[in-house]
Amino acid sequence: MADLVLEIDDIVRQISSGMTIGIGGWGSRRKPMALVRAIARAGVRDLTVVSFGGPDVGLLIAAGAVRRVICGFVSLDSIPLEPHYRRARQAGAIELTELDEGMMQFGLLAATQRLPFLPTRAGLGSDVLAINPQLRTVRSPYDDGEELVAVPALRLDVALVHLNRADAGGNAQYLGPDPYFDDLFCLAADLAFVSCERIVQAGTLTQTGPPQSLLINRAMVAGVAQTPHGAHFTSCVPDYGRDEAFQVSYAKAAASDEAWESFRARYLDGDEAAYQEAVSRG
């Protein structure tokens, strides 16, 4: 079994300006934030970000790394609106492909199957079709003749996901209640990278959870990095919950350029170890 273990910077080096990247998790839950922070520091530009969006999207926008977001929402969950995303939208600073959540799922599924699109009723009659003039409909070739939305495949250059455990070969396990869409993101991408709380000895993952918790296998993965507390401040249960107090300080800092400069200098300008140390200092 090949050793796929990488450092954070090895992964970031494979992400270049203009790429389409998909990010796993949901809202402010199990986001690969250590990788996101490193991309934000790297000076990458013009990314298209596909996400069930949370602070991953906000941080990348704040770093000036994003040209387009493809999403159904961007939320911090306990704080309904992601502040950087909201500001950027209201300033007209980013492009947006706004899709229904089910359309997102079908777009990713189409990409995993190398299909051009998958049909769905979601979006019909709504302004999703008006605000996305690139979307087409398709008519059922069967007797029903129903007109449906043809959700285009959301093919990704790179996928980033964060799981609880992985082995060096790239098999990975979630231990919380929800897999989100992390397997779809990995399968929809040319290169998928898994960050995890802990890399464990190969062959021992079934000691920490049932077989179906092994969401990601090594056929889906190009590299794996151990990033303890790497989803912070989003939740990564059962290893840790969302750091609500920190999330509030993040959201407050987004309110003005000065406050954000000071937050960035305190937490984000250094590497991941410096971030974790600054967080533990409080």
Binding site: G72, F73, V74, Q90, D100, A122, S126, P177, D178
Partner: protein, 239 residues
């Protein structure tokens, strides 16, 4: 059982939300907001015992609060397509035919206010029953035209699957008219028909006799106060 005393406005709203799920069998009740959540649980404890309710994350909890099943987001989205779900969503804007906006206020391309995004509203409204909870009845919410149609109304092509109820802090509304335009179904105790009309930015169908929204029974009040919301948090959603 101790005598419960008069129902509060929040308790009347909880029952009005619960009534939206009356007659629903073993389908997923998806309430957004505290009062709709208490309503869904009250419905399950009383007249709709088959309803499924999540913990807000991925677990399905039974009436005793014990885990009875698993429903991660991927399976919620799959369930949407089956139609076995009745969601009560919020609405930043809602029009006469039930078109709902939770995406953005103003021009979508550069909004005056970015809101949640369309989320699952387009897929929900075309696939399964949807109701709405509006904690402050106002002409800012009940508008002539919504800025971004997120949840679809009855006048779209194709139309909404079923819009069952709209519950506000003043009234209960529905779409039980020949053209599926919004109708005043009942007015909460303490509110008036005239007040509701003045707070609604489009013409409402008003029946000759507008009933008063029912209050919970003594048993219903006991369930709300002793079991569902002992801390009385529901009132906070009406401020």
């Amino acid at each position: 059982m101790a005598e419960q005393g008069p129902a509060s406005l929040a308790e009347i709203c909880i029952l009005a939300c619960a009534e939206a799920w009356r007659g629903d069998g073993a389908i997923l009740a998806s309430p957004m907001g505290l009062i709709p959540s208490l309503g869904a649980r009250l419905a399950r404890l009383t007249f709709s015992p088959e309803l499924l309710v999540t913990d807000g994350e991925a677990m399905l909890l039974d009436a005793e609060g014990k885990v009875e099943g698993w429903l991660p987001y991927r399976d919620v989205l799959r369930l949407v397509g089956t139609g076995r779900r009745h969601m009560m969503m919020g609405a930043a804007q809602l029009d006469r035919y039930g078109n709902q906006n939770i995406s953005a206020i103003g021009d979508w391309a550069r909004p005056k206010a970015q809101l949640l995004g369309v989320r699952g509203a387009p897929g929900n409204t075309i696939n399964h029953p949807v109701s709405y909870w509006v904690p402050k009845h106002s002409p800012r919410v009940f508008v002539d035209h919504v800025d971004v149609v997120s949840g679809i109304g009855y006048d779209r092509n194709p139309p909404a699957f079923e819009l069952r109820r709209v519950v506000t802090d003043k009234a209960v509304l529905d779409f039980e008219t020949p053209d599926h335009s919004m109708r005043l179904r009942s007015v909460h105790p303490g509110a008036t028909k005239e007040e509701v009309l003045s707070l609604t930015g489009f013409p409402l169908t008003v029946p000759a006799e507008v009933p008063v929204t029912p209050e919970p029974t003594e048993a219903g009040l006991a369930l709300i106060r002793e079991r569902l919301d002992p801390a009385g948090l529901a009132a906070g959603e009406l401020r």
